[in-house]
Amino acid sequence: MRDASLVARIPTQWLRWGVALLLIALALFLWEGSKTFFNLPDYKLPHLAQIGEAFVRPTPQGPVWRVLLQDTLYTGLEAFLGFVLGGISGFLLAALFVHWKPAERGLMPYVVASQAVPIIALAPMIVVGVGRLGAPPWLSKAIIATYLTFFPVTINATRGLKSVDRDALWLMHSYAATRQQIFRKLRVPASLPYLFTALKISATASVIGAIIGELPVGSKRGIGVQIVVGSQYNTFNPGFLWATIIMAALLGMLFYGVVALVERRALHWKQE
């Protein structure tokens, strides 16, 4: 009993941090352990110290971490633009589907088909095509991010907007509510839990989309460009590729975290 009360007295915050630290320590141990155990060469799996060292290495534009940070922010802007555009267009498409059945039946196959095409094959075409039109280079990346973002939003928002139960709808009918009122006061709030599920998927997908857009030859800025550079020079500087990967992952987590935070606020009526 005494032990239980002791554990109970540790703040949950501390416990959570403690567990997180423990997991990180374990991951680091496994990393270095498997490198030794399987005898992996540096270009396959560098030492952690090499990654750290890659971050602080100086370049003419300042230390590597600062260069990578700038590229990551650039990619972040592209992804954010794509996320917003994809979120809006995805939701509008869902709103159309809910109010006009033929649209859903007619367009849904194309929406699905659009996602079945490997984005890797499509990306260079979009980049080149948009570039030919004289658009700024970030636009094609944002478009690819949009392309990956809108799909989960469309699917989930359509479901969410339809998720109202019969009595809730009848209540609105009993007030002789207009379609617009039913949409705003019932369908949209009812769809929010579904929408946020989609937005969390889209948050990371939009980052992936922007990065994929940066991979084709000719791109000059963004963390995707650095990933390409890193894989080309991996044998000379094995820590650098992993440094770029870490930055990309952090960006994705940041996007996800922000959406999750907004979700907590927006859906506080659902908590507990």
Binding site: A168, M172, S174, Q181, K185, L192
Partner: protein
């Protein structure tokens, strides 16, 4: 007195062929303005369906319905009735107060004081202290009381209630019965009240409509000749017991007849 509700040989049939269900069979019913009419009958006999036809949430299969002298659709568009559903049907993302304000919002009522009206109605159902709670934080009975406040807040002339007190304990139920009678007497509304409770039906109503088991027909309409205002003594009067017995006998008769018919 004018007829606020008229059913002329109304049928409601769900589905077709094998899966056909006759929910209402040839219902004739006239309700006068200002009446308190209860509808009682076994589960599945079509009570909710009857209310939904009045409310224009479902169309009749055959026959003619008039509400306030109009088609049910017109009456709905004119917001002539307020409905209390069998389930509370609160919007979970709105606070209690916001739920009660919902009809006023939708109707863009010119009434300045939405909040004041809503607060008053919540007071009436005894939930003033829960204005800022969310539905999930309330018990089932409390949720149902919110839904009653919501139906009354825009002062419709006709109130349709589908087992509103079904989820409540006996004490709260009797208290709300009295409240409801007060509101009814003060505002000269017409109430159509679906219930499973014989004593509740007798206590509240000026007439009790007894329905048969599926397919739902009107077995008998019983006049309740107890004088208003009613109170605790009413429940203990001999006449009250006689009427309760009469309703019970009618229900029992119809129930056994239904079984023999099958």
């Amino acid at each position: 007195m004018s007829h606020i509700i008229e059913f002329d040989q109304v049928w409601k049939i769900f589905g077709a062929g094998e899966s056909e269900t006759i929910a209402l069979q040839n219902v004739d019913l006239t309700v006068e303005t200002g009446e308190f009419v209860s509808i009682i009958g076994p589960s599945g006999c079509g009570k909710s369906t009857l209310l939904r036809l009045i409310a224009d949430l479902l169309p009749p299969s055959k026959g003619d319905i008039r509400v306030n002298g109009k088609t049910p659709r017109q009456a709905r568009l004119d917001r002539d009735y307020g409905m209390v559903f069998q389930a509370p049907t609160l919007y979970e993302w709105r606070t209690v107060l916001k739920n009660v304000e919902l009809p006023l919002e939708v109707m863009r009522s010119a009434r300045e004081d939405k909040r004041g009206r809503a607060v008053k109605m919540l007071d009436l159902v005894g939930l003033s202290d829960f204005q800022n709670h969310y539905p999930r934080q309330l018990s089932g009975g409390m949720q149902q009381r919110v839904s009653i406040a919501r139906a009354l807040v825009f002062e419709p002339t006709l109130i349709l209630m589908d087992e509103p007190f079904g989820a409540l304990d006996e004490f709260t139920r009797e208290r709300l019965n009295l409240e409801l009678l007060d509101i009814w007497a003060e505002t000269h509304k017409t109430v159509i009240f679906v219930t499973h409770s014989i004593s509740e039906a007798v206590f509240l109503s000026s007439r009790v409509v007894v329905m048969t088991p599926r397919p739902g027909k009107i077995a008998r309409i019983i006049d309740i000749d107890l004088s208003y205002p009613r109170n605790f003594e009413t429940r203990e009067s001999d006449r009250f017991f006689e009427l309760v017995t009469e309703v019970r006998e009618t229900l029992k008769e119809e129930f056994t007849r239904g079984e023999i018919d099958d």
